[in-house]
């Protein structure tokens, strides 16, 4: 059994020290949790050298996705979210045991739970592994052997699979237009450019939450959605003219910015991603 995840097969400009460590652990077929601290902190759970789950301090985990309203009443949810975001141990533990109870009670189907788990994990991977941490930042990685995630694993992915998805998402974010980014404040447009518009329930909830004080990340937490997916929904709403990004930092696109195409294409982004050296 030759592991196919040698760092050499992984050509990625933004490779981080965390990714390097993951390749080592994959080669060792390690089981346990790799803790990354710092502002982009998170935990990567491995089973036999494959990634089982990724957690980030910046994105809602599977417990949040499972417990979001209407499963939890609005009032308790509004109190729970800030505590989860601050990473308070008592509330986090309580949320995890509530989510575990929910799974045991079968009120959430096993399929739904597993899909939410993969969604949450990919979202966290972008935050924890996709950020190019400056060399000067003191991030420490620590591996705790045999530590497992509370939600039992049924499917694991190779380190290469997870990092490829991180890379793909980065390529999509680099092509966002209209000033939309996960950490940018958005607000409702003062006036709709068209006579009428029909929104899905999620689009409506996002538009309702975009009151000029929240970023895509804040809205994702508030609704119990993925941060990346919420950013995409916001881009769609901005395209419709329902939302606008705050212009506090005028559109100063990064070096990778491409000509403005307001209809964002995953296909175009992935084609660009595949040709990245």
């Amino acid at each position: 059994m030759t592991p196919v995840m040698s760092p050499k097969s992984w050509r990625w400009a933004g490779r981080t020290r965390a990714a390097d460590r993951l390749f080592e652990l994959a080669a060792e077929e390690a089981t346990g949790a790799l803790h990354l601290n710092g502002p982009w902190g998170g935990t990567i759970f491995l089973v036999q050298g494959r990634i089982d789950y990724v957690e980030s301090v910046l994105t809602p985990g599977v417990e949040a996705l499972l417990l979001r309203p209407p499963r939890t009443d609005e009032q308790s949810w509004a109190e729970l979210v800030p505590a989860l975001r601050r990473g308070e141990t008592v509330e986090t533990e309580a949320a995890r045991s509530a989510a575990a109870r929910l799974l045991r009670s079968q009120l959430a189907s096993d399929i739904d739970a597993e899909i939410l788990r993969r969604t949450a994990s990919a979202d966290a991977a972008l935050a924890a592994l996709g950020t190019a941490v400056p060399e000067t930042a003191r991030t420490r990685t620590r591996f705790r052997p045999d530590e497992r995630h509370w939600c039992p694993s049924v499917r694991t992915f190779t380190v290469v699979d997870v990092l490829a998805e991180v890379d793909r998402r980065k390529a999509v974010l680099a092509r966002m237009t209209l000033g939309i980014q996960p950490d940018r404040v958005v607000r409702r447009a003062p006036q709709l450019p068209i006579e009428r518009v029909r929104l899905t329930a999620t689009q409506w909830n996002v538009a309702r939450a975009a009151d000029g004080s929240r970023t895509a990340q804040d809205i994702a937490w508030q609704l119990g959605h993925g941060v990346f997916a919420t950013t995409m929904v916001i881009h769609q709403l901005a395209r419709l003219g329902v939302l606008t990004a705050d212009q506090e930092s005028p559109e100063s696109p990064g070096p990778q910015m491409v000509p403005a195409r307001h209809v964002l294409s995953f296909l175009r982004a992935s084609a660009a991603g595949l040709h990245l050296e």
Binding site: I115, V154, R168, V197, M232, L240, V263, L264, F266
Partner: protein, 177 residues
């Protein structure tokens, strides 16, 4: 034909693999896919018997992520089954783009209507996009890729409907629980 496929599936199930097998490598995913402990793979594996099926992808349309992929029962053995296969990633990206654009269209029309499914007919392949709104953080789509030479589209759609809810919980024998 169906009997042979059913028999083959039965064999695969009995030669059975535990959850431990499914974590070893991507190359054995094809073999272990039916007797999997993974509820998602089990549900998608039900669709493997559709005539001419090449792959079934479970995709989150808001991120275009391939959440899972299952290879058809009699597809070309060269078709791999990894979530980062370039062809799977491309199909997921294209299908998500289609769903996003149709979303823009229905939003702008302002009429109370929503997407039921999309059929993309290429010279050699069909791609069927079927939204599943009740699952995941904000719905998922199932993308079926079919080999046109071995597919009767009307029949395939009928087969698809006969499954009932596509993401229903399925027991080990492949029956809807």
């Amino acid at each position: 034909m169906h009997l042979i496929q059913a028999r083959r599936q039965q064999d695969e199930r009995e030669s059975g693999s535990s959850s431990v097998n499914s974590v070893t490598s991507d190359t054995d995913v094809r073999i272990s896919s039916v007797a999997d402990t993974d509820a998602v793979r089990r549900a998608l594996s039900r669709l493997r018997t559709i005539d001419g099926l090449v792959t079934v992808c479970l995709v989150e349309p808001d991120s275009a992520q391939v959440l899972e992929i299952v290879v058809g029962a009699d597809a070309d053995p060269a078709v791999a089954g990894a979530v980062t296969d370039p062809s799977a990633v491309t199909v997921a990206a294209g299908a998500s783009d289609v769903v996003q654009v149709i979303g823009l269209m229905t939003s702008s029309l302002g009429e109370p209507d929503e997407l039921e499914d999309v059929t993309i007919a290429l010279g050699r392949r069909y791609h069927l996009i079927v939204p599943q709104r009740e699952v995941g953080a904000d719905g998922v789509i199932i993308v079926l890729t079919l080999d046109r030479a071995r597919t009767n589209l009307a029949l395939a759609r009928q087969q698809l409907r006969s499954f009932g809810p596509l993401l229903a919980s399925v027991d080990d024998a492949g029956h809807v629980a």
